[in-house]
Symmetry: C2
Subunit: 327 residues, 2 copies
């Protein structure tokens, strides 16, 4: 990364209060960036509570075009990171997914057109690919859920709109991100909480493979995507390239906790739309951006466990944070 | 094609009054199909006037969910052909493009879920690819306009929704389609009309290459896409694979007319978002569907010219048909 690149940079972040968004905001603030967090009035801001005094909050909504225009006018951003997405909850209405992830992305882009932006960074998803191993960016996209299709739609709209309006864009596709501040109902935090209490961990048979990547590594990729000149107009996977079975993750977490909890594989059914293999190829990010994952799975899990131990006193319910995110 | 496949088939067609849609409806009716043409109350039906008595008109709108549900309930379709799209006019509002082509496709799919459909056929576009030669279906998609991105979004939503709801789907990507009933302001009809009147034809420098395909060949592909068992879950280009320069098309049309009109290349500027090369690879449709273009460019242009001569008495303005379509 370029030393000093972010100092004083005006950066507009949507989804700033989310899992990824909060980590990005914290890193940008630490690097001296001037972050404008675009948040709905109802957004919970507990994930960024520690840096909120060093962030400019901009209230608005992707569907309130005037609020977007006002937000961009106030922030005069040099970069936009678009992380806001619906979704994320498995029971989210299909119409809402398309509305937020496709139309909302278009509305944000329209507000940015002609603003002299250095870069528009779209937070995509490995779900755009559908199922597969060693998924590379050149892979045909075969989404298997409307959520995935809506994220792909947002990607395509970004690519096309930016082409048309000469806005430099980058798309990033994180795989299965874990770390502090992940919603507690997701696999790893859930296993940690159960493990700390010595309770059985009820899971699916757990044969599905995922490409787990620690959140700090993903944020490295987001920063490089924002600053590296060669990133413009391209899409990058952010993944380790190492598929790991869900059952192995559960066992590893319980081992690290030295817990007496037993994992009960098969206690829960697979999802109707379960994908059994999903792992990526990270060669493009490595070669073009010089990005590499700094954390092994073991290190990432240790850090994650330490962090959740710190909030465990709140209890699993008390520790539930903001709106639900997609597994 | 399977003999008798279409006899008595219940086929629901959106965009039935458009250029492609009207040809599809006429062919289906000719094959004995029971066509339900889903049309907005304001739709012009002149393109299907000759067969309208043999078609069931179903009034509705992609945004009126109740009208979609009612339409599907009435038609009880075995196949749906989704050709309705916004567009198509170069000055169409970006928001409208996403609303109709992405959200409208989702609404139609939702109305079809659980209806026991044999097949949902999505009419995509070569624009989904962006610029390039020999574009194959496995090519990464790089749309350069919001129209193209919105068609890609509709494709992705179709693919994902159908996967999720076990609906058999097919996507078809026609390239530059020409033939009778094309909007008269488009290149070939415009050249024919000017040529018939002996007036100069004002065009761009005309160096851009397109993959021109006669409408009847595209309809062959649409029928095969609807009936061939191996088509399910796949996407097929419908193109000749032969790039032809716009200037050569203009000259060829004027030659065939034996017109004294002069083409004035460079009289008009290229579009801001002009694509200079766009041609496809049709090997997948050939090998899987047994599809092949039956008309050479010369034959297709001759038939097109004959047809426009027949309506030339109406004058170019009088001959302007329905809403404008994208070049």
């Amino acid at each position: 990364m370029q030393v000093g690149y972010w100092a004083g940079r005006r950066v507009f972040v949507t989804g700033a209060s989310g899992f990824l968004g909060s980590h990005l905001v914290r890193r940008l603030v630490g690097l001296g960036g001037h972050v404008f967090a675009f948040l709905r009035p109802a957004s919970e801001t507990q994930r960024i509570a520690d840096v909120i005094d060093r962030v400019t909050l901009v209230e608005g909504d992707l569907f309130d075009v005037k609020s977007l225009e006002r937000g961009v006018a106030v922030a005069r951003p040099e970069l936009v990171y678009h992380l806001a997405a619906a979704g994320v909850a498995p029971d989210c209405d299909d119409e809402q997914l398309v509305r937020v992830n496709a139309m909302g992305t278009l509305q944000l882009l329209r507000a940015c057109a002609g603003s002299g932006l250095l870069r528009f960074v779209y937070a995509g998803s490995c779900f755009e690919y559908g199922e597969g191993s060693d998924l590379a960016e050149s892979q045909p996209l075969a989404p298997t859920s409307v959520y995935a299709a809506s994220k792909l739609a947002g990607h395509a709209i970004t690519q096309a709109f930016c082409h048309r309006h000469s806005l430099p864009w980058v798309s990033l596709r994180p795989f299965t991100v874990y770390g502090p501040w992940e919603r507690t109902s997701r696999l790893i935090p859930h296993t940690i909480f159960r493990g700390l209490k010595g309770e059985d961990v009820l899971v699916t048979p757990g044969e599905q493979e995922r490409d787990y990547i620690f959140v700090d590594d993903v944020i490295d990729g987001f920063l490089l995507g924002g600053e590296h000149p060669a990133a413009i107009g391209r899409t990058f996977n952010l993944c380790t390239g190492q598929p790991v079975k869900v059952r192995d993750i559960v066992c590893q977490v319980l081992d690290l906790l030295d817990s007496r909890s037993r994992p009960v594989f098969g206690a829960l059914p697979y999802r109707a739309d379960e994908m059994f293999r999903q792992s990526g190829d990270n060669r493009l990010a490595r070669s073009v951006l010089g990005w590499a994952a700094r954390y092994s799975l073991l290190e990432g899990l240790r850090l994650t466990i330490e962090w959740y131990k710190g909030i465990a006193c709140l209890g699993e319910q008390g520790g539930e944070m903001v709106r639900p995110c997609r597994e």
